[in-house]
């Protein structure tokens, strides 16, 4: 067999791309100041080893474990209440946006006003969920002070945006929605919603909500870093005090909390389908 039959014909083009990419990569590395040898400089190494040595043994005193347990409960509470308020935002906006409930979808003329109205609410939901929830939490901490309230409001806004968009898409996505034909023969929108859309998509809606509840627990811990209460708040104060043993206990509690909520969410979703 001739070796020339097996030449890679686009090898030269691929090679130039890789070279150009590596050349462009170096300014990025400089911007990020990615110099790993800094980690092993003498002063930094000493600080790192000192900090790491405080990690073991983890702090297992009764008082501290009680505090961690209370913070975990508060985290779950913040996530649940926040998700409840998110439902208050998400469900009405989903019903307003979804085209499954829209009478103007099967008229012959192009309906400008409903499209514009729906697009306005959709843009509002995009704004609510594109701003990272920590930024919302930072703003709310300055409005209502430190503590769980800021976290609840931040989760309510962000997750309300996410839930609204996904609920609307789920309602539109049931195959062969009989609701449209029901509306054409004169059923009201409420009847279509209650007797057609919800029975068809209830499992998917509930499953997505439970998944978002689990995400909300993780977000709450992260928002605690900026003062919104819960496990994150405690983690940040332990880190500021360089108390590595407390940090290790809180990290274990966090991993345990995430694992528990993940297990709960998976079992609820499995029992739904």
């Amino acid at each position: 067999m001739l070796a020339s039959e097996y030449r890679d014909t686009i090898a030269r083009r691929n090679f130039t791309f890789v070279v150009i990419f590596i050349v462009l990569f170096f300014p990025l590395i400089q911007t990020v100041e990615f110099y790993p040898w800094v980690l092993f400089g003498e002063k930094n190494l000493k600080i790192t080893i000192d900090f790491l040595s405080t990690f073991y043994p983890p702090n297992l005193t009764n008082t501290f474990l009680l505090k961690v347990f209370e913070s975990s409960l508060q985290t779950v509470a913040i996530a649940t209440v926040g998700l409840f308020f998110a439902l208050l935002i998400g469900i009405p906006s989903a019903l307003l946006i979804t085209t499954a409930l829209s009478v103007s979808e099967f008229e012959n003329r192009k309906p400008v006003l409903p499209y514009f109205f729906r697009y306005l609410i959709r843009a509002l939901l995009i704004l609510l969920r594109s701003i990272p929830e920590i930024v919302w939490a930072l703003i709310f901490v300055r409005v209502v002070g430190l503590g769980p309230t800021a976290g609840i409001l931040a989760i309510a806004l962000t997750y309300g945006g996410m839930l609204g968009k996904v609920y609307a898409e789920i309602l539109e996505s049931g195959d062969n929605p009989p609701g449209k034909y029901a509306m054409q023969i004169g059923c009201s929108r409420l009847q279509v919603l209650m007797y057609f859309l919800i029975p068809q998509n209830l499992l998917e809606l509930l499953s997505y909500t439970v998944y978002r509840w689990e995400c909300a627990i993780r977000s709450t811990v992260i928002m605690g870093f900026v003062g919104a209460g819960g496990l994150g708040f405690q983690l940040e104060s332990s880190l500021k005090m360089f108390a590595g043993d407390e940090v290790l206990t809180i990290l274990f509690a966090f991993i345990g909390l995430v694992w528990l909520s993940d297990y709960f969410s998976k079992s609820v979703r499995k029992s739904l389908t």
């Binding site: 990569f25 990025l28 590395i29 911007t31 990020v32 100041e33 990615f34 110099y35 800094v38 980690l39 930094n44 600080i47 790192t48 900090f51 409960l73 508060q74 779950v76 509470a77 913040i78 209440v81 704004l127 594109s130 701003i131 990272p132 920590i134 930024v135 930072l138 703003i139 300055r142 409005v143 209502v144 503590g147 769980p148 309230t149 609840i152 993780r218 811990v221 992260i222 870093f225 900026v226 983690l235 940040e236 880190l239 360089f242 940090v247 990290l251 966090f254 991993i255 995430v258």
Partner: protein
């Protein structure tokens, strides 16, 4: 398990007026030339953090995924593969913000700590996704190659990787979209980029400048989402 919501305090009439006055301070956003230049520099820094972080985690994640899924034959191989799986799980359970807060102690304030935090967490996530995909490759072709004496590394390189390139690129792009949000926010604990600028201005209650930074974050996120969408369309 109480949460102390005090909702009635928030929506009480005179408090509502205070809240609206507070929110009104955000607009109009501050558009002075020097400040916009600083915002652009921070934006570039955030973009660089996310790109370097995602790419390096792809490389490290692929290495760890290879070691955790390809060496299950010998006992030593099984032990090392279990260790790599455990390492990936630890790396991905800890959120990026926590990693950043820990790494600032070793790496100092600035974008290096943020980039390392993204690398640690995303290596775990991508390594887990990659190793699951590597194990779920249809086993007939690798089986035939093994019988004929091809080494594990060559099977990985020529069979599995050529099947999985598109799927891996899709995972990497998905993590890039996530990491740009994370990179914008990591600066809040001091890891550089737009977040550091935001926490600085919010701390001084300079609300109009904070509004400009938030708008810059939004634009950056939308830009990266659009870019990743167009790259996906060209790959598929």
């Amino acid at each position: 398990m109480q949460v102390d919501l005090r909702l009635s305090e928030i929506v009480a009439y005179d408090n509502l007026e205070n809240i609206f006055k507070f929110l009104a301070e955000f607009f109009p956003p501050h558009t002075e030339k020097d400040f916009l230049k600083a915002v652009l520099i921070a934006l570039w820094e955030t973009l660089a953090i996310s790109i370097v972080g995602t790419l390096l985690s792809a490389i490290f994640g692929l290495t760890l995924a290879y070691f955790s899924s390809e060496y299950n034959d010998t006992i030593a191989g099984k032990i090392s593969s279990d260790f790599c799986k455990f390492l990936l799980n630890v790396l991905r359970s800890i959120p990026e913000l926590v990693w950043a807060a820990l790494l600032i102690i070793s790496a100092g304030l600035g974008p290096f700590a943020g980039c390392l935090a993204i690398i640690f967490h995303t290596t775990g996530v991508l390594g887990r996704l990659f190793s699951d995909a590597l194990e779920n490759v249809p086993p007939e072709a690798p089986g035939v190659l093994r019988i004929n004496g091809v080494s594990n590394f060559n099977i990985f390189l020529h069979n599995k990787m050529s099947q999985l390139t598109v799927q891996f690129s899709s995972y990497i792009l998905y993590r890039w979209e996530n990491n740009i949000r994370v990179a914008s926010v990591l600066g809040l604990v001091g890891a550089g980029g737009l977040g550091q600028l935001l926490s600085f201005h919010l701390g001084l209650f300079l609300m109009d400048k904070a509004c400009t930074v938030i708008l810059a974050m939004l634009l950056l996120i939308l830009f990266v989402d659009g870019l990743s969408y167009s790259i996906r369309r060209r790959i598929y």
